[in-house]
């Protein structure tokens, strides 16, 4: 991919979009938010819970998209940072306090810490090699969660996590939990969008499009990559804190190979680099896995695997790429 192609990549140059488009995007964003906020009034509790899971997974997918789409670093180990945040938030909720901002901050902090401790190994690599290293790192972290029973509860997971408390009151029902997840998810999403649109984000896209050239221009690309890996880890940890707020349980399976591949699938379905697309991809993944899964005898993974193969063949730029592609013709 050359630098000249760059602006056609979805989300590549949002700042320079014409004013009409930007206004329209703003209206759509507000409308989506209103519909999402009103959803618990219209849906059954089970559907609300599913939608909560969609939001959690969407935030996770967006944090992965910061690596995959914006910086061009395909990661298969990102679920490990989600898991680090989830375990940390769960542990704090059980042993210290479940009062609202604390589990979130601890989750994001531990996500960032786990990324900082492991990410430096990968910064000199890119492409398939990066994919391979992150896969190995993610899996070793998962095994750590599996074997370190005194802290993580081993294969049974960390159980008995109390509900999040907001100003002393626990969030007892699915609707309140949903709004909590929505509020935090929107903040997380906004943070990622801000990073992607900042000059720092522009440098990241430069690394994606032509790393040797960025290096020649005097950018320390390894340092930029390390910074974005830690940031993405923090947002993934935040998503992990939301995950325990919703399911009140975290097991090693939550941070495994399957979770990491589904997040990557969500990003690719949405079109790498399109943060909105990643949210839609996450919705599709969770609906197939959690809502349709039971009617498929628990084999939603099979359907997702087939979807994965089809997407790779048919949608090289993801769903968000379809529109762009047509317009260019």
């Amino acid at each position: 991919m050359t630098a000249i192609e760059a602006p056609t990549v979805p989300g590549g140059a949002p700042a320079s979009a014409p004013r009409v488009t930007r206004a329209r995007t703003g209206i759509i964003a507000v409308a989506v938010l209103v519909v999402l906020a009103a959803a618990p009034f219209m849906l059954a509790p089970f559907a609300t819970t599913t939608l909560t899971r969609v939001l959690v997974f969407a935030l996770f997918a967006v944090s992965l998209d910061l690596l995959v789409g914006v910086t061009g670093l395909p990661s298969l180990g990102h679920a490990a940072y989600l898991g680090a945040g989830a375990y940390a938030a769960g542990w704090v909720s059980i042993n210290v306090t479940a009062e609202a901002p604390v589990p979130l901050l601890v989750g994001a902090g531990f996500g960032a810490l786990a990324a900082a401790l492991t990410g430096w190994v990968t910064v000199r690599s890119h492409g398939v090699f990066f994919l391979m290293l992150t896969l190995a790192i993610g899996e070793t972290l998962q095994q750590l969660a599996d074997t370190w029973e005194t802290v993580t509860g081993g294969a049974n997971g960390l159980t008995g996590i109390p509900a999040v408390r907001l100003a002393g009151t626990p969030l007892a029902n699915a609707g309140f939990t949903y709004w909590y997840v929505l509020a935090v998810g929107v903040i997380g999403f906004a943070l990622v969008v801000m990073v992607a649109r900042s000059p720092f984000g522009a440098a990241l896209r430069g690394i994606r499009d032509n790393e040797p050239r960025m290096r020649a221009l005097g950018y320390s690309t390894a340092r930029y990559k390390y910074a974005v890996i830690v940031m993405a880890g923090a947002v993934a940890g935040l998503a992990g804190a939301l995950l325990v707020a919703q399911q009140r349980l975290v097991t090693p399976a939550d941070m495994g190979f399957a979770t990491a591949s589904f997040a990557l699938l969500a990003v690719i379905i949405g079109g790498a680099g399109s943060l909105w697309g990643a949210c839609l991809g996450a919705a599709l993944v969770i609906i197939i896995r959690d809502a349709l899964g039971p009617s498929l005898d628990g084999h939603g993974t099979l359907v997702l695997g087939i979807v994965f193969v089809l997407v790779v063949y048919l949608l090289p730029r993801g769903a968000a790429g379809l529109r762009i592609y047509r317009r260019r013709r």
Binding site: R124, G127, M132, A136, E139, L264, T301, L302, F308, V309
Partner: protein, 288 residues
């Protein structure tokens, strides 16, 4: 301690059989085959199905070879339309295939872990330096060493091996010389897959067969390939023996945190020699 070291060797040789196929396919064609672990698991389930006698064991080995040939050929065919696209797309395709394959295996064989008995005559223990040790694991060390030698001789001493090494070194030049790249790729893919399914049958009595095993062995194989260097048979052997020891001795010394030791070994090699112990120059290691 001696038992741990011996265990490390048996796991190491098993890992070599698994990893060398991954290493050569990746080194040659830049296709990272993430379905490699699923092929191993396929072999393990075949072994579990036919376990019992020598007939069943050898039959499982034969069937595993057929499965490997067909599976490798299919994977090679499936990645062919993506040849013009990025290597990442090919890796993602094999990831999708791996998910489907693991799920199909779970549907066919159920979610419960299966244990596999070693063939009769090998399922007891012998005395090694005064310690009783399972015979089967000693046999694995022997079989692994023979396979390692065979792969080494084929790659280093035959015409096909020369072609493989030439393709690792300079793919364009080999195709300019009139060799059909696709055939070489399909052949190497098939052989690599046969090695993976064979490792699955051989590893059955050690690892058993269970859902999730595919990811576990895939990671070990990837770490071996990273440590040993891409496309190098010698590297895969040394890497596999190191990781076998690190994994087993690590579990013996620090049972809770053994995965940290694996990570530490990986990180250490990447810091000191980013291209792996026996890899080529740095530029070729990162798949461009």
């Amino acid at each position: 301690m001696l038992v741990s070291v011996l265990n490390g060797f048996s796991v190491g040789f098993l890992l070599f059989v698994l990893a060398v196929g991954l290493s050569i396919v990746f080194g040659m064609m830049d296709v990272l085959n993430l379905a490699h672990g699923a092929l191993f698991l396929c072999g393990a389930y075949l072994g579990a199905t036919f376990a019992g006698g020598w007939g069943g064991f050898l039959g499982a080995l034969g069937l595993a070879a057929v499965f490997g040939l067909v599976g490798g050929g299919l994977l090679s065919l499936m990645t062919e339309p993506l040849r013009k696209r990025s290597h990442l797309d090919q890796a993602l395709l094999t990831l999708g295939v791996a998910l489907v394959a693991a799920e199909v295996l779970a549907i066919v064989f159920g979610d419960d872990p299966l244990s596999v008995a070693a063939p009769p005559g090998l399922n007891d223990s012998v005395q090694v330096f005064g310690v009783s040790y399972p015979t089967y694991r000693l046999v694995i060390i022997g079989v692994g060493a023979v396979l390692a030698l065979a792969v080494y001789l084929v790659v280093e001493r035959t015409r096909l091996g020369a072609l493989v090494r030439a393709t690792v070194a300079d793919r364009e030049m080999v195709s300019v010389l009139g060799v059909d790249n696709r055939l070489v790729k399909a052949a190497v893919f098939a052989i690599g897959s046969v090695l993976a399914t064979t490792a699955g049958v051989l590893g059955g009595p050690i690892y058993g067969a269970r859902p999730g095993l595919d990811a576990t062995v895939l990671i070990l194989a990837l770490v071996v390939v990273v440590i040993g260097g891409l496309g190098s048979v010698r590297g895969a052997l040394i890497g596999a023996l190191i990781i076998g020891q690190v994994d087993i001795v690590g579990k013996y010394l620090l049972p809770d945190l053994s995965s940290f030791i694996l990570f530490a070994a990986l990180a250490l090699v990447l810091v000191l020699r980013p291209q792996g112990l026996f890899g080529g120059p740095v530029g070729t290691a990162g798949a461009r």
